[in-house]
């Protein structure tokens, strides 16, 4: 970038929310410009000095992050309106693309806000349980190596297994609707969690879970549970909810071929359903 184009401050607008079910509000921060910053370092700078543009001292912004190299899936948020990982969102790049010169941060809209940019994504993991995203081995004693697999098989499976449960695909999917259950006064954690799980259980599982079902159905041992996974895909909230907008594949930071997996699962459930009907 040419030096003269560099702004002296980075203007950051953050959508904040103090707790679940509360009203959201915006705050503006000005961060002195430095080269090679990413969103995480900007948030770290705000945390170290949480003072708004108007000079107001505020509570530091809450956000999630972990690996800082786009493999853990923690740091998903909306940046200038689009969902992505904030650790790999470089300020210089964002400023190039944003004519307003502003960086706008919002929590994901499809998950209940816990606080500020932190959202509750338990539903993602619940969906993995639903599609039995694991290889059902007998146990962990030494039984020798697994079945031999061709390079082609490995090269097909590896990309699918890179899913880091970040939820980008879900945020962008027009068919994935937010499920938010507000905790009632005096409700125990246990009872509340059960209600949340019940509500999640009939809502769309999402492309990431469909992809995992395809992954494990293609594993030489995993395929022994194929029928159960296909069954799960046809339950309420299953693959049928997909409307083929293909946003998921467009935003997945791991470039997972989600729509290929969806089509594959589509074929498998069709065959499965027809077979079941005539059996």
């Amino acid at each position: 970038m040419i030096a003269s184009n560099q702004p002296s401050v980075i203007k950051v607008r953050v959508k904040r929310q103090d707790g679940p079910g509360q009203a959201a509000y915006w705050q503006h921060f000005d961060i002195p410009y430095e080269e090679n910053l990413n969103i995480i370092s900007v948030l770290q700078k705000i945390a170290a000095k949480p003072i708004t543009r108007d000079g107001q001292r505020v509570a530091p912004i809450a956000w999630d992050c972990g690996c800082l190299e786009e493999v853990c899936g923690s740091c998903t948020m909306l940046i200038n309106g689009r969902v992505r990982q904030s650790c790999s969102a470089l300020i210089d790049r964002l400023l190039e693309d944003s004519p307003s010169g502003e960086v706008v941060l919002e929590p994901m809209s499809k998950f209940p806000v816990v606080r500020d940019l932190v959202v509750d994504r338990a539903r993602i993991f619940q969906a993995l349980k639903k599609v039995k995203a694991w290889v059902e081995v007998d146990g962990y004693f030494d039984m020798g190596p697994g079945p031999k697999q061709s390079r082609t098989q490995q090269e097909a499976a590896y990309p699918l297994s890179e899913c880091m449960s970040c939820g980008c695909c879900l945020e962008a999917c027009p068919q994935y609707a937010k499920v938010e259950v507000i905790r009632e006064a005096g409700e125990s954690e246990e009872a509340y969690r059960q209600r949340v799980e019940a509500a999640n259980s009939v809502a769309f599982i999402g492309p990431h879970a469909i992809n995992q079902a395809v992954l494990f159905n293609s594993n030489p041992t995993g395929q022994f549970k194929k029928a159960e996974r296909l069954e799960a895909l046809t339950e309420p909230g299953g693959i049928q909810v997909c409307g083929n907008a293909q946003n998921c594949v467009a935003v997945c930071p791991k470039h997972i071929p989600l729509t290929t997996s969806i089509a594959q699962a589509g074929r498998a459930v069709t065959v499965h359903a027809v077979k079941k009907f005539f059996e």
């Binding site: 027009p174 799980e197 049928q240 997909c242 409307g243 946003n247 729509t259 594959q264 589509g266 498998a268």
Partner: protein, 271 residues
């Protein structure tokens, strides 16, 4: 987890698959046949009238075919389609990819098609062939089509004012887009085309089919808009008399524009 599932939730998969299927057969297929039939007007009034005779040779069974194989599946597809459309959330402002726009367009064209088809059937067919209803429709300038004066009634209906042709043009375009794009998404839903490359190939084929059908649909529309209705009616009446004589059509006053005239002719012809 004690969960009360709604009927739709419980049968979501099946309902979605039936919805998908009804989009192709019978509804989509019917639309194609229908547009092609209409386009036979380009081969002359006789050709079109013959096509209509063929359909109406079903006689009293026609009403069952119409409702069982077309209207009911269509209504199911349409109503459930509206439900589906409302259950999604458009987000093209953030994710403006072509695929996402098509997802939106699929829903909007579905709604347009719904409005169009309801009015189109009312305009031409009238929905129900029951006395008082027919009178009501006629008084509203609807239920204009007469099967034994097929081309002329259609042409007159289209030429009555400029609103109808515009509505038809939009409606046909929307329906055809909806069908072509729908076939493509259906191929993914059912797992016919899987890899990105295959999906792209299928996409081109669906687009080509769409353009083809659209041309056919528009040429039919153009055909009716430019038809000389008076001449057409004369031809149809002649055909009617002949066909009744040969036993090809069952006489039915309701399917005629001007039954009295033909009754007289018939009276003189038949001793």
């Amino acid at each position: 987890m004690t969960n009360e599932l709604t009927f739709i939730q419980k049968h979501e998969f099946l309902l979605r698959r039936i919805h998908s299927l009804t989009g192709l057969v019978p509804v989509g297929l019917y639309m194609c046949v229908h547009l092609i039939t209409n386009a036979s007007i380009l081969n002359g009034v006789e050709a079109f009238q013959n096509a209509v005779y063929a359909i109406h040779s079903l006689g009293n069974a026609l009403v069952f075919v119409e409702w069982g194989a077309i209207f009911l599946p269509l209504l199911f597809h349409a109503i459930f389609g509206v439900y589906i459309a409302y259950s999604g959330q458009f987000n093209t402002s953030s994710y403006g990819t072509a695929k996402n726009w098509r997802y939106v367009a699929q829903r909007i064209t579905g709604l347009i098609a719904f409005v169009f088809i309801v009015s189109h059937v009312a305009h031409m067919h009238g929905w129900f062939h029951v006395g008082f209803w027919e009178k009501l429709m006629h008084s509203l300038g609807l239920a204009q089509f007469r099967a034994y004066n097929a081309a002329s009634t259609a042409a007159m209906a289209m030429q009555a004012n400029i609103v109808w042709p515009i509505l038809y043009a939009i409606g046909i375009a929307a329906s055809v887009f909806h069908f072509a794009n729908g076939v493509w998404t259906m191929g993914i839903t059912w797992g016919v085309w899987i890899s990105p490359a295959a999906q792209k190939r299928a996409d081109r084929i669906c687009a080509a089919i769409g353009v083809g059908i659209l041309l056919i649909g528009f040429s039919a529309l153009g055909g009716f808009m430019t038809l000389d209705a008076q001449k057409a009616e004369d031809i149809e009446n002649r055909m009617y008399t002949e066909s009744v004589n040969t036993g090809r059509v069952v006489p039915n006053a309701k399917k005629l524009t001007n039954p009295k005239l033909l009754e007289e002719q018939a009276g003189t012809a038949k001793p």
